[in-house]
């Protein structure tokens, strides 16, 4: 808390802002906390909701580490997407609930970012039914991908595998984040005194240690949510 106290108080308040303190906290304090209170990674994808507006234009942020971590591996991933471009468009057309999908290579990860309508499992299952071969071609290049391919014969396991690689969407408010954490642990009590929201909450630090890649928020829309088919219909593009 802000203090108007003496020299010692001001010193203590100043200490966490120093680079030395931040490094020491990262190397010593955070591992110690993590050891004392293990934190499970929070699940990825949109927060479950019954509200109609929350169930259109949902985000998927998939980060998949490539098996071959080199320019060769990255080039293989780029080719896998390029060679399947037509199938991807055909899939978008037949599934009908996707606004857009992007593939991005970041470091040695192939990432798929998409905006879709409705239930996540239905979205992935419909894609498996439409262009499962594309998923198989891409996932073959990804660590542990062989566990769930061919996706057509491992439907539920494949959907779960994708879900596990979909980034956790950190709520915009720290209190919502803490509720997520408590729900994961089946903890119905209110957060304890480690969660002063004016500081970096310990649970947030530990979650970001367990779950280093996250999405901040669930996307900021410039207009209310519409389904892809509603947009197509209003623009008279056919749906």
């Amino acid at each position: 808390m802000p203090s108007e106290g003496g020299l010692l108080d001001r010193f203590v308040d100043w200490l966490p802002t120093t680079l030395f303190f931040k490094r020491a906290a990262s190397w010593i304090l955070v591992p110690y906390w993590a050891h004392k209170t293990p934190v499970k990674p929070l699940p990825g994808g949109p927060h479950p909701s019954f509200e109609h507006g929350d169930n259109v234009q949902c985000m998927m942020n998939l980060i998949m580490p490539l098996k071959v971590k080199s320019p060769i591996g990255r080039a293989e991933a780029a080719l896998a997407i390029a060679q399947n471009k037509d199938a991807i468009y055909a899939g978008l057309n037949n599934v009908g609930t996707v606004h857009f999908a992007r593939f991005v290579i970041v470091g040695d990860n192939i990432c798929m970012f998409s905006v879709y309508d409705g239930d996540f499992t239905n979205y992935i299952r419909d894609f498996i039914a439409t262009i499962g071969s594309v998923f198989n071609a891409v996932v073959a290049l990804v660590e542990d991908g062989e566990d769930v391919t061919p996706c057509e014969k491992n439907v539920d396991a494949f959907i779960q595998w994708i879900h596990e690689r979909d980034l956790y969407q950190v709520p915009d408010t720290a209190t919502d984040f803490l509720r997520d954490q408590e729900a994961l642990n089946g903890d119905t009590a209110m957060s304890g005194n480690h969660d002063d929201l004016t500081l970096l909450p310990r649970k947030l630090v530990l979650q970001l240690r367990a779950n280093p890649n996250v999405s901040l928020g669930n996307g900021y829309r410039a207009y209310p949510g519409f389904s892809a088919a509603q947009v197509r219909e209003r623009l008279e593009l056919g749906w």
Binding site: N94, D117, T130, E152, A229
Partner: protein
């Protein structure tokens, strides 16, 4: 019979409706002692005529059984019985998590939320086994129940639910139900029901077969005798507010009467008399006819069963069981009608790949006394439907239909953002339903209250006879 599936290995309630046995009782059971419960399961397929009732299979041979008896096992039930963990892990997530964990997908919110469910559904982990008795006479239910519960060391009764099929397959809102079920490839049906829909692959309703989604197969829990020929059931206790439904029909009819042009389109010359002839509680008046028009549009069938897709202006006594229609072209069945939302058949939908892929076998029976519109009571007793929604993959069928089609209306941009008006989580301030007019325009009905609320349920695995023997023989 079938060349592809051995009916004697299937539980009979999967492909048969037991229509001659109108009395149905559900025994909600908890395993008391796993070893004794396994012996109970083994006894249920032993072929003995005394002791534990025998599971009714899909092959009745020469003689019809006097009563039928079938079981479903929850994940907790399978686990408690000692099913190996490697097998348990092969069951789908939604089954492992159970129905209460899937509340948001199913629209079980507000008055339907699992936290509000009465016993025994308030303790889902104690629900291990759901046994169902089907009988011609109510006293037979007691006899079978007595035999099922005789060994108190095996199973404990934690609750019952009981229903009775009304004449003409009517259900509480007054509609004729049970008109059709999917027809399956490789299963004999003597072409009794020409329904204008392709035969569903067996994998729609049984584990171990080709599904409707090309190239996709659902994982069959191993060992093979456990999973093969099994399927899943979403058992639902669905409370129906019939007085509220009838009151809404009054309200909607009064609103429509204020719009003479709409009345003219909804009631072409002669329609009022024809509608009044079938539904004559209030005599032949425009208001009573409009009530039926609204009821018909919300469902997609007139209350006598006539599909709007075949006869949109008036009910037709020749079509009360008609099933041979589709929604292609300019169908007069509303996009949002319950039967169209839950099964869009070959009609155009956003998720083109999903046409015909989310079909379910439905087995429902009303519970509670029939509503008497001429003698409404101050406090109506609870009534509703005990529903079974059976499919080989609850996630791909029951949940996909509930979540994206019934609750979100994703299949048609003209529906998106609305829920199923008949069965969904209506809110009087937000729900709407577009009533189509002959001219092609629509009238938006608003202020629909919630007519159906969930009062319990569970996801159950319906094991094959071979699987029941396997479970009965576990020694863990």
């Amino acid at each position: 019979m079938s060349a592809m599936v051995k009916l004697a290995d299937l539980q009979g309630n999967i492909l048969r409706g037991y229509t001659k046995k109108p009395h149905v009782r559900y025994l909600i059971l908890e395993v008391a002692n796993p070893a004794a419960a396994r012996r109970w399961l083994a006894a249920s397929t032993s072929g003995r005529s005394d002791g534990v009732p025998q599971i009714t299979s899909g092959d009745w041979g020469a003689s019809k059984p006097d009563t039928c008896f079938n079981i479903g096992l929850t994940y907790e039930g399978l686990r408690t019985l000692g099913t190996p963990s490697a097998s348990l892990e092969m069951f789908p997530n939604e089954f492992i998590e159970g129905m209460t964990a899937r509340a948001l997908k199913l629209g079980d919110v507000g008055p339907s939320a699992p936290e509000t469910w009465p016993a025994p559904f308030n303790e889902p982990k104690r629900i291990h086994l759901i046994a169902t008795i089907y009988a011609e006479q109510p006293e037979q239910l007691n006899d079978v129940q007595k035999r099922a519960l005789a060994d108190t060391s095996a199973v404990t009764l934690v609750g019952t639910r009981e229903g009775y099929s009304f004449p003409d397959d009517r259900v509480h809102f007054g509609y004729r139900d049970n008109i059709m079920q999917p027809r399956f490839e490789g299963v004999h049906d003597a072409d009794r029901y020409a329904d204008g829909q392709p035969k569903a692959p067996l994998g729609t309703v049984l584990l171990g077969y080709r599904t409707n989604l090309e190239g996709l197969r659902w994982r069959v829990p191993e060992p093979e005798e456990l999973g093969h020929n099994g399927t899943f059931n979403a058992f639902r206790v669905l409370k129906q507010d019939v007085a509220g439904f009838e009151a809404y029909l009054d309200q909607a009819a009064d609103e429509l009467l204020k719009q003479p042009q709409a009345v003219g389109e909804l009631l072409p010359p002669g329609a009022e008399a024809k509608i009044g002839k079938v539904f004559s509680i209030e005599g032949v008046t425009p208001r009573s006819a409009l009530r039926e028009v609204v009821a018909a549009n919300l469902c997609g069938r007139w209350r006598d069963g006539t599909p709007l897709a075949l006869s949109a202006d008036v009910p037709d006594p020749e079509l009360v069981k008609a099933a041979n229609f589709d929604y292609v072209g300019e169908s007069r069945c509303p996009f949002g009608a319950h039967i169209r939302r839950s099964n869009p058949r070959g009609g155009k939908i956003v998720q083109r790949v999903a046409n015909n892929s989310r079909r379910l076998v439905r087995r429902g029976v009303p519970y509670g006394p029939a509503y008497d519109r001429t003698q409404p009571r101050q406090l109506e007793p609870e009534r509703g439907l005990l529903g079974n929604f059976i499919g080989a993959n609850l996630g791909a069928q029951f949940e996909a239909m509930s979540c994206d089609w019934l609750n979100l209306g994703l299949q048609d941009p003209r529906l998106t953002g609305s829920n199923d008006a008949l069965t969904g989580a209506n809110g009087t301030d937000s729900s709407w339903f577009d009533l189509p007019l002959k001219s092609g325009s629509t009238i938006r009905l608003r202020g629909l209250p919630r007519f159906v609320s969930t009062q319990g349920g569970a996801y159950a695995f319906l094991p094959s006879l071979r699987a029941i023997r396997y479970l009965g023989s576990l020694t863990t």
